[in-house]
């Protein structure tokens, strides 16, 4: 996977994760182009489209669009389920996730994503294991750690 974008129906970017080196300018251009392209599509249309030399896989959940760019040989359907699993993880963590959760706790959304996908590939597909890792981290929150364990 080359990147993942989350944006609202108003076109506001809520999360962006880039797995290939791109300049800030390129990232902005890509986000703008894609948000525009996808928002222009009608609800019943297919979830995949060719875009430059990439395949775009996207799905809308309530007010949020989740959009992944994968390479030519990558599997569209499994990417669609990557999106779904990420939504499930957010949902479980926040308890019925909504756009506001992701806005106000954006750093958590990034942490969960890092546990699930790393370098653009699935790291751990078990929902239990991902949530366990996040839970452990949360428990460490206010516990003082010794620099020398």
């Amino acid at each position: 996977m080359q990147f993942m974008l989350l944006f609202s129906r108003q076109g506001k970017l809520r999360l962006q994760k880039w797995y290939v080196p791109l300049s800030d300018k390129e990232r902005k251009k890509i986000s703008r182009d894609l948000v525009q392209t996808i928002l222009a599509r009608k609800p019943k249309m297919c979830s995949f489209l060719e875009w430059r030399d990439l395949k775009i896989v996207y799905k809308r959940y309530a007010s949020l669009y989740f959009c992944c760019a994968v390479e030519d040989q990558d599997n569209e359907l499994i990417t669609l389920e990557i999106i779904h699993r990420y939504v499930e993880l957010l949902d479980k963590y926040f308890g019925s996730v909504c756009e506001l959760d992701i806005i106000f706790n954006f750093e958590k959304a990034y942490f969960i994503l890092d546990e699930f996908l790393l370098g653009g590939e699935a790291q751990e597909t078990s929902k239990k294991n991902v949530l366990k890792a996040i839970e452990q981290a949360d428990l460490l929150q206010e516990v003082r750690l010794h620099t020398d364990p």
Partner: protein, 937 residues
């Protein structure tokens, strides 16, 4: 999840985010952000040391501001400080900031790397994972330099926790993708491959991405992964849906891992070990079988996961392309999906079938779905699905269904989405050319294209129809008639005027016999469009007019009148004015003979890859759509994918840079050398067709050679850089050949050197060449003369080798010089009685050579006659009792001897076959002439 675990109480951050959300305008937002930035800056600069919590809060605010799309130019140091915090959440925010906002500040990188190093050696798995995530997110070269050695060790160490292994595998993958030279697997290879056997499914899932990437780059070193992958896959495929616990997704066991395993196997050919292969085929069959089972859940996630595996399995089956049974089953499965109610599945089925269409085993099976696909093209509501349908129609097209598919695509074009019209036009043009049985259908199709979608018909397409009409004498009359009719339409597209002007200028004479399309009618029709056209089209029309003067002397006065008018001869456009002046002058001072030579019919274009195909490849990128596009892949890469079209276009425009005399000169040498009238000089360059310099091979080109058996002048060779024209004359056993080397670029060729070699030891041909100057300026042409003496009859032709440097790269081209034994024919006229007497005298079996072959061009009488005359023999009328047959006679003149030669050609129009018989006093001559001539029809 307990509520406490959510936000960790950064109230200030929540307030700030609320403030931003409450901003009514962009200006208000910027104002609020600037206020916040000033606040944070003052806090960071303040005398009072900040506590960890405040630092974390401010760094997090900066991150939020950056993610909103604003620039952040401070705070990095504070974030780095957080990395060494002993509070986990502070460390985590520090890493997140670095991952998102890293820059190549070397001082900072050193500090970051130090912190990462500490965490990696902390033996605290949570910290180690954080550090690995950061490396994977940044993936910079500096990080690869610092950690590429350490991470493999962590990955394979026996005591590493599973979660750390997972992060290490993907972290290494990211570093390998960014800096493959820094990641040395060597000693770790086998232990990494064996991660496929790991008990923890998560470890396998992460490791397989790394292994797939490494395998695709070094297949041999990783080939042991094949049998491991097959057995892992087999275990998953045969497991019950509950066996894998949390790795089962909506009743589908380990869909991600299954897809990745199937993907890994696509890096390799089918397993050689029979047992492994058997097991794999069994897996693939099971996957295909499962597709037919009723779903275990109505949820779309269930069917998506299941079908993701199915599509990946089909990809593998197509990749192997060796199991007809599986290929056909795959095709049937996709056929079911073509009518599925899920748009996504229809889309993927169309896409996947495209690749199936290129397999010999499944091509026919794919073709059975033609009606469904045509229906999809007509009725799908989503343009991306219609696009896939068009791609599939293109891929499944062959001779049997070309007419239907082209017709459907044409009718679709009338309503097609603007975004895909140009590509559709290219595809129709390619299919029409590729599967044209009779070229009148081809001409009709292209003219229809121009009529329906004229704006989307690129230059390549209309250049190509002209090239083909010029090269195919059997279609010229039809083309002239058809464009004439098309031009009658009151509003016709400018591209139609271009094609019409060009074709009537060349072949208008073929329809001039009909009073409805008499020369003057043709001219008036063309000229009625003139004023509505752009400058390049007008320039082309002016060239057509001067060609008319040559073709039809009776139009001279009218056309001169037009050229003389102020709107032409004083036109403000310099190109038009120049043409008008020159053509007017040319038509008034040149004798009819000179005019006829200068304005001679265009010589055939060198046969080569269609320029439109090249354009489609360029448009779609490598590996797109279908078979022929596949082989374009390598060429594309050889070319470096660069924009060579640009070079050629510049070269072409240089070539036509107007200077009053140059244009006329260009015209005079047009026939043999540049192969273009002035109008075509800048237009008919086949911009995209040849591979660039890097692809110039030293291989010898036979095609060019065979085209010159029956003619002496034309273009022998052409690529992006160089064009070689040839003009030759023969008398008795002597020949003289002029070679014209034209530099098509704007850059000079240096160390230009040509040699003619003749490899046969015995003295058969005596070839003398003069050396050429080693420097050929951009746009310039140099000439070389070669004298040839034929000592005795021969088969092999001399080789011409050309070497030069272009922009530093050495170019090396080898060509066969078109010197063939028939060039030394002297025609011999004789009466029927003499012919048959000699025919009988040459009745020994070895004196006769005979070939029966299929016609590869049209069987037009005039064309056949022209070719036989071009061979150098005399064409004897009224000799053969069957008037359909042709007989010829000639004597081959060599220094050693004269060889009398008789020829009979019997066409069978019904069967589209010929029988060719040669008799001569020397067996080698009969055979050679027979071989050469059989290639000409």
């Amino acid at each position: 999840m307990p509520a406490v675990s959510k936000g960790d109480g950064m109230r200030g951050l929540a307030v700030f985010i609320s403030d931003i959300r409450n901003c009514k305008s962009k200006e208000a937002e910027i104002k609020r952000i600037n206020k916040e930035l000033a606040n944070i800056r003052s806090k960071f600069k303040g005398d009072k040391a900040l506590d960890g919590y405040s630092k974390k809060k401010y760094v997090c605010k900066l991150l939020f501001i950056f993610l909103l799309g604003h620039d952040i130019d401070f705070g990095h140091m504070e974030a780095v400080n957080l990395l060494s915090s002993n509070k986990y959440t502070e460390k985590q925010i520090g890493y997140l900031f670095i991952s998102v906002l890293v820059n190549s500040n070397s001082e900072l990188i050193r500090l970051i790397n130090n912190a990462i190093k500490n965490d990696l050696s902390s033996r605290n798995p949570t910290f180690m994972c954080l550090a690995l995530h950061c490396i994977a997110n940044v993936g910079s070269r500096e990080m690869a330099e610092a950690f590429a050695g350490e991470i493999p060790r962590i990955l394979v160490a026996g005591d590493t926790m599973d979660s750390v292994k997972q992060s290490a595998a993907l972290c290494l993958l990211r570093l390998y993708k960014a800096s493959p030279d820094l990641v040395l697997m060597g000693e770790w290879t086998s232990r990494v491959v064996h991660l496929l056997n790991d008990q923890h499914m998560g470890v396998v899932t992460a490791a397989i991405s790394l292994i797939t990437c490494l395998s695709s780059k070094n297949p041999d070193e990783f080939k042991t992964c094949v049998s491991l992958a097959v057995s892992r896959l087999s275990r998953i495929v045969s497991s019950a849906s509950t066996d894998l616990q949390d790795y089962t997704y909506y009743f589908v066991p380990a869909p991600w891992l299954s897809c990745k395993l199937l993907r890994l196997l696509q890096c390799y050919p089918p397993p050689e070990d029979g047992a492994v292969k058997g097991r794999l085929v069994e897996c693939l069959e099971t996957i295909l079988n499962k597709a037919q089972e009723p779903p275990k859940s109505k949820k779309v996630q269930h069917s998506n996961a299941k079908n993701a595996i199915l599509f990946e399995a089909i990809s593998l089956i197509i990749h192997y392309d060796s199991e007809p049974n599986l290929l056909v089953r795959a095709c049937n499965q996709l056929g079911q999906f073509l009518q599925h109610r899920e748009t996504n599945l229809r889309y993927l089925a169309l896409e996947s079938m495209c690749t199936l269409a290129s397999s010999e085993f499944s091509h026919e099976a794919v073709k059975t779905h033609i009606e469904t696909v045509i229906n999809a093209l007509k009725t799908e509501r989503d343009v991306s699905v219609r696009q896939r349908a068009a791609d599939l129609l293109y891929a499944m097209c062959d001779r049997s269904n070309a007419k239907q598919i082209v017709a459907e695509m044409l009718s679709y074009l009338e309503t097609a989405d603007y975004s895909i019209r140009e590509e559709m036009v290219l595809k129709v043009a390619i299919l029409a050319e590729k599967y044209a049985v009779d070229y009148s259908w081809y001409v009709d199709t292209i003219l229809n294209l121009i009529r329906i979608a004229g704006d989307y018909v690129s230059e390549e397409v209309w250049y190509r129809v002209i090239q083909i009409v010029i090269n195919r004498d059997d279609v010229q009359g039809y083309a002239a008639k058809t464009v004439f009719e098309a031009l009658q339409a009151p509003a016709c597209h400018e591209n139609m005027v271009k094609v019409g002007g060009y074709i009537l200028g060349e072949f208008g004479n073929l329809i001039a016999g009909d009073p409805r399309s008499s020369p003057l009618v043709q001219f008036n029709l063309l000229h009625s469009k003139f004023h509505l056209c752009s400058v390049p089209t007008r320039a082309l029309l002016l060239s057509a007019y001067i060609k008319f003067i040559n073709l039809f002397p009776e139009t001279k006065a009218t056309i001169q009148e037009v050229l003389r008018s102020d709107s032409q001869i004083r036109n403000s456009d310099v190109e038009l004015q120049q043409r008008a002046v020159e053509y007017l002058k040319l038509s008034s001072i040149a004798s009819t003979d000179v005019l006829a030579t200068v304005l001679e019919e265009m010589p055939p274009f060198p046969e080569r890859e269609s320029s439109i195909l090249a354009k489609l490849k360029k448009k779609k990128g490598p590996g797109a759509v279908s078979v022929e596009l596949e082989d374009g892949k390598e060429r594309g890469e050889l070319n470096g994918g660069g924009d060579r079209g640009g070079d050629a276009a510049i070269a072409a425009s240089n070539a036509s840079t107007p200077s009053p005399s140059a244009d006329l000169l260009g015209l005079r040498s047009a026939a043999p050398v540049s192969g273009a009238t002035p109008s075509a000089g800048s237009l008919l360059v086949d911009v995209f067709s040849e591979a660039g310099p890097a692809a110039t091979s030293a291989g010898v080109n036979d095609d060019g050679f065979l085209r010159f058996v029956c003619k002496n002048n034309g273009v022998l060779f052409e690529n992006q850089l160089l064009q070689i024209g040839i003009k030759s004359e023969y008398r008795q056993n002597l020949g003289r050949m002029y070679l014209f080397y034209g530099n098509k670029t704007s850059v000079q060729f240096v160390s230009f050197n040509t040699t003619v070699s003749y490899e046969i030891k015995s003295r058969i041909l005596n070839v003398q060449t003069k050396t050429v100057e080693p420097l050929v300026e951009g746009g310039a042409q140099v000439q070389q003369v070669i004298n040839i003496e034929c000592l005795t009859d021969f088969i092999d032709a001399p080789l011409l080798n050309i070497k030069f440097r272009y922009g530093g790269a050495l170019q090396n081209i080898s060509l066969k010089l078109p010197v063939t034994i028939n060039k030394f024919f002297q025609p011999t006229e004789m009466a029927a009685a003499d012919f048959f007497q000699r025919w009988k005298q040459l009745s020994q079996p070895q004196q006769e050579a005979q070939k029966i072959f299929k016609a590869s061009h049209g069987m037009d009488t005039e064309v056949l006659k022209a070719k036989l005359l071009g061979l150098g023999t005399a064409l004897l009328e009224n000799v053969d009792p069957n008037p359909e047959n042709y007989v010829c006679a000639g004597v081959i003149q060599t220094k050693a001897q004269q060889v009398g030669c008789l020829l009979r050609l019997e066409p069978n129009a019904q069967a589209q076959m010929y029988r060719l018989t040669l008799r001569s006093s020397k067996d080698t001559v009969s055979q050679r002439v027979c071989d050469l001539l059989a290639e000409q029809f």
